[in-house]
């Protein structure tokens, strides 16, 4: 199956500024594996040491959270669009966060 993975602008510095990648895969996990092989720096952002999805990055398959299906084992169809949506909090970075958080 061919799937298109949309990469959001906050993560594009890890994908040579490319907004999307098309891969051949049968599951979400396979698709992400190919994405991370293509752009190795993305792996740290998306998956933990055990290869599980991180809690602060969500993956949507055709607009539905894959956690409401079978997670990384969710099967892909012919017209799969995967979207990565990371948690974002503001553009000021860690120094402001350290200075001001409650």
């Amino acid at each position: 199956m061919q799937a298109t993975i949309k990469i959001p602008s906050p993560l594009r510095r890890f994908s040579d500024n490319q907004p999307q990648l098309s891969v051949q895969a049968t599951t979400v996990g396979e698709a992400l594996e190919q994405l991370c092989n293509h752009y190795p720096e993305l792996r740290l952002q998306l998956l933990d040491e055990k290869g599980e999805m991180r809690n602060f990055v969500n993956i949507y398959l055709n607009r539905e959270d894959i956690r409401s299906h079978q997670g990384l084992a969710t099967s892909l169809s012919e017209t799969s669009e995967l979207r990565i949506v990371p948690a974002i909090a503001g553009g000021s970075g860690i120094e402001l966060c350290l200075k001001r958080s409650p």
Partner: protein, 388 residues
């Protein structure tokens, strides 16, 4: 929250108010009763920055009867790139107080309260309790989780907007059995994965768009018109100029809003987000700007390492400093004598602390962090340099 307040007597509108809000009132969906509902509404705006600027202006202009604006910060020159509430004459003044002055100038019919303080686990419930809904315009994860948890505990809708670089997100949390922020993101990213200053940044016009979407949702919630963003996360990519949305659902296992919540009180959100408490002793030493100045003028000046990004060095620099952006430091470690005293500085001390920890780990004997960074140096040693 029930939006159908038709049973309750709505506040009257004066002739002056009817005239001012005529463009609202002539909208059949809103009408006079919609405007009265706005007058009756009480909204708390958390943050008077990039998102807060359009929120403060549009909600005051729209005639929201009671508004609270909470922000502990003062206006800085670098805010003016996106925080259109303020001008040059506001630099150094309290954001919440100046925001409220501007809003009162825009609309004298409103009851507006500034809170010049940080929203915290100690004050959040007592402040939020007095409002019908909360609009989250903050810029950090600890406050976002705090706002979320407090809203869930008090049953207040939380209108969420977030921005980063060219990306915006908006939705409506904790509204009519919909999801909360923790249903979307159960945990925050650890600080190591949160971008540093240099990797951050935000397109100045981006918060105008996301803040306006939040204001639109706030108006719809209190007037009960249209379809809200409940259960939908709106995504905006300014670079590609694309809007998209994904479905979000309440998680019945959510620790705050789930069927059997395990967290029923506010917690230490700094700790929850993995940010070390400032009281913890540092493993490396610190040096004040005055001490550094004396050492630089002495017989054996230390190696002074400036780990900021090139654009920051163009704005201001300490004479004699070796410039090397933080990400490049590890590649140069072998060039230096590990017994040599090394002073590291950045803008305000956070990045340089990371580098000091790295140097210590790599066997450097005496890494020292310049306390308060170049901003403290400007304040106490060389005020001729440009602050940013």
């Amino acid at each position: 929250m029930k939006t159908n307040v038709g049973q309750i007597e709505l506040p009257p509108l004066s002739a002056e108010e009817m005239g001012r809000y005529s463009r609202h009132i002539m909208l059949p969906e809103l009408g006079k009763s919609g405007q009265q509902k706005l007058k009756q509404a009480r909204m708390l705006l958390v943050g008077a920055g990039g998102l807060g600027s359009p929120l403060c202006l549009y909600l005051a202009a729209a005639g929201v009867g009671t508004l609270g604006v909470i922000d502990p910060d003062t206006v800085e020159d670098s805010n003016l790139q996106r925080q259109i509430l303020f001008g040059i004459s506001d630099i150094g003044a309290s954001k919440s107080e100046r925001a409220v002055l501007r809003m009162r100038d825009l609309n004298p019919h409103l009851d507006i309260t500034p809170y010049r303080e940080t929203l915290s686990a100690e004050n959040a419930l007592s402040i939020i309790r007095d409002y019908d809904l909360v609009i989250d315009g903050t810029d950090n994860f600890p406050t976002r989780y705090l706002v979320n948890d407090a809203c869930v505990m008090l049953g207040k809708p939380n209108i969420y907007g977030s921005i980063f670089r060219f990306e915006g997100q908006a939705t409506l949390f904790n509204y009519e059995d919909g999801p909360c922020y923790r249903c979307l993101y159960p945990q925050p990213p650890p600080p190591g994965l949160v971008p540093s200053c240099a990797e951050g940044g935000v397109l100045g016009v981006l918060p105008a768009l996301i803040g306006s979407i939040q204001a639109t949702e706030a108006i719809k919630v209190v007037t009960g018109i249209g379809s809200t963003l409940k259960g939908r996360l709106l995504l905006y990519d300014a670079l590609q100029m694309q809007f998209d949305e994904v479905s979000i659902r309440r998680d019945s296992h959510c620790c705050v809003c789930g069927d059997h919540p395990t967290q029923t009180q506010l917690v230490n959100y700094q700790q929850f987000c993995g940010i070390p408490a400032s009281m913890e002793p540092l493993p490396f030493g610190e040096i004040t700007p005055q001490e550094l100045q004396q050492r630089m003028e002495g017989d054996k000046p230390p190696l002074l390492l400036d780990v900021r990004e090139p654009f920051e060095v163009e704005i201001c620099r300490i004479p004699g400093a070796l410039h090397l952006p933080m990400q490049q430091v590890s590649a140069h470690l072998e060039e230096w004598d590990r017994k040599q005293e090394v002073v590291v500085h950045c803008k305000s001390g956070a990045r340089s602390a990371k580098v000091c920890a790295l140097l210590l780990e790599q066997g450097f004997h005496r890494p020292l962090n310049l306390k308060g960074g170049i901003l403290a140096w400007i304040d106490s040693v060389d005020p001729s340099l440009h602050r940013y």
